[in-house]
């Protein structure tokens, strides 16, 4: 039967392409395991600051980690330093609001506390709930938008840059270019500048669509947000160029997506990983999108400025520089002179 002949050839081909085989068999398990670990990590208790409702301490402590503060100012500072998810001061219960899940946990802790105290005959006035960032009616998309924006910019730039450079290799134009007196640094810089023009347009378009069309709240400086996004695009561009060296076909380049790109989504702030195992935390701190998402949340939701996200920007710049250096090292192998 002809079908058997075709099938035998397909089986032989896949078996001999070990990377494809490994991807086919193990990549889904890898992704599922990461998802499982992230989703089944116990929901951490919210951290709530208590300023003057000391009679509520014992009950609230059953629902949340409670930290006592002497003044509202102290609680505000703790919230600014991202140490607490909410604080209760007098007639207000202030929720930080950058994470939808932690905001809801904080609110739930308050309402349970009020219910238990009410049932026990303790008279207490329900405080007004205020959100420091965003608002209580912020949609799930609103809170995920910064991380999603960073991911989509990263993902599409990676694909475009990777495929373009791969084509240079597969069509032989890279080899021919390397046979000219062109310096390797000029090749990498030229590629970078050429693509950066298009990547900038794409980035502006994505940011404009999320902020202006989808109307996601944007509390920070629009230009600073654009700067962060362009830095993310830079990292993706250099990573795409770098990883294309390890692929012979576009199919092989796509294989990097479930292995290296997708896991970054799970760790970039879409899921709460504060209670996840240590290895998840370590892995997360090694991935560029983690810093990208942090910077985007800080600018977009918290409305913070350049100085507040210097660390994240430095890390992202470090990744871009490292990938450029690795590109040069690999190209030197292709043209040793």
């Amino acid at each position: 039967m002809d079908a058997v002949t075709v099938a035998r050839r397909v089986v032989k081909q896949v078996v001999k392409d070990r990377r494809t085989l490994a991807l086919l068999l193990f990549a889904p398990l890898f992704i599922l395991f990461i998802l499982y670990t992230v989703i089944t990590s116990p929901a951490s208790r919210p951290v709530v600051g208590l300023v003057d409702q000391q009679q509520a301490y014992d009950v609230l402590a059953r629902e949340a980690e409670v930290v006592r503060y002497d003044s509202r100012k102290q609680a505000e500072r703790a919230m600014d330093e991202e140490k607490i998810d909410a604080y209760w001061a007098g007639e207000t219960f202030v929720v930080e609001g950058t994470s939808r899940s932690r905001s809801k946990l904080s609110e739930a802790a308050l309402s349970k506390t009020l219910a238990v105290m009410g049932a026990g005959g303790m008279r207490i006035e329900a405080p007004d709930i205020e959100y420091l960032y965003s608002s209580g009616d912020a949609t799930l998309f609103d809170t995920l938008a910064p991380a999603l924006m960073g991911f989509f910019i990263f993902f599409f730039v990676f694909i475009i840059a990777g495929i373009s450079f791969l084509r240079e290799r597969s069509t032989g134009t890279l080899e021919r270019t390397l046979a000219t007196p062109l310096a390797l640094r000029d090749l990498v810089a030229g590629y970078f500048i050429g693509f950066f023009l298009f990547v900038s347009v794409q980035t502006v378009l994505i940011q404009w669509f999320i902020v202006n069309v989808l109307d996601v709240p944007q509390n920070g400086d629009y230009l600073l947000l654009l700067f962060v996004n362009l830095l993310i695009a830079t990292v993706a561009l250099t990573l795409g160029l770098f990883l294309s060296s390890f692929a012979r076909t576009e199919f092989q380049l796509f294989q990097f997506i479930p292995a290296l790109i997708l896991p970054q989504v799970f760790f970039s702030g879409i899921f709460d990983i504060s209670e996840a195992p240590r290895w998840v935390e370590l892995l997360s701190s090694a991935l560029p999108l983690t810093y990208a998402a942090r910077a985007l949340v800080d600018v977009m939701i918290r409305g913070r400025g350049f100085m507040d996200i210097t660390f994240e920007l430095l890390i992202l710049s470090g990744y871009a520089i490292a990938f450029v250096i690795l590109n040069l090292v690999l190209l030197r192998k292709e043209r040793p002179s």
Partner: protein, 233 residues
Amino acid sequence: MAIIEAVDYGQSYGKYEVLRQLSFSVDPGTITGLLGASGSGKTTLVKAMIGMLRPTRGEISVLGKRMPNLKTAPRIGYMAQNDALYDELSARENLSYFGRLYHLRGDRLERRMDQVLAFVGLSEAKMPVKLFSGGMRRRLSLAIALVHEPELLFLDEPTVGIDPVLKETFWTEFAELKTKGVTLFVTTHVMDEAMRCDRLLMLRNGEIVADGTPQELIAANGTLDAVFLKGAK
């Protein structure tokens, strides 16, 4: 003085030894043909001579420099086995790109582009390269190798996949380049092309098994086919 000189040159990829102990020299202003069956190491040898590979053994000198050496690049022309063209660009845009990488600018670039396009008969081809026929692609590939007026030209199987008429045109052009003092190093496995070379090197299993003028090799073996078949065994 030889324009190319290989001394005890060897090339390995990991544990695979592709070329071993090659020693030969090429005189300026000649056409040298490198004969060999597919997989005999012809392309590897060309890549080492243009500086894309560092010899794992011995040495290769080109234009008086030990390779790899980037300083030789402006004086070398290279036509790869695959066409290596940007399909979305026109012939002139492809030429302009590579001409600029060889530091040609302004009037000189324009003049050279006009000259080489006329030389390969593509002056009127304005459409994107993706619409070119196989023969047109090979011709443009040759034009790119010539745009910066190299004194040494490496042509890796330049006539593969082209019709006999174009093949004849190519060899007429190669002869014309030779009269201008250009040295040509051509890989081939086509016997009638080998006859047009001043000197032939025959590669087999990574070693040179025959070296001489076509007439010398025919005298020793009867026909060039016999030399090739002997080399291919």
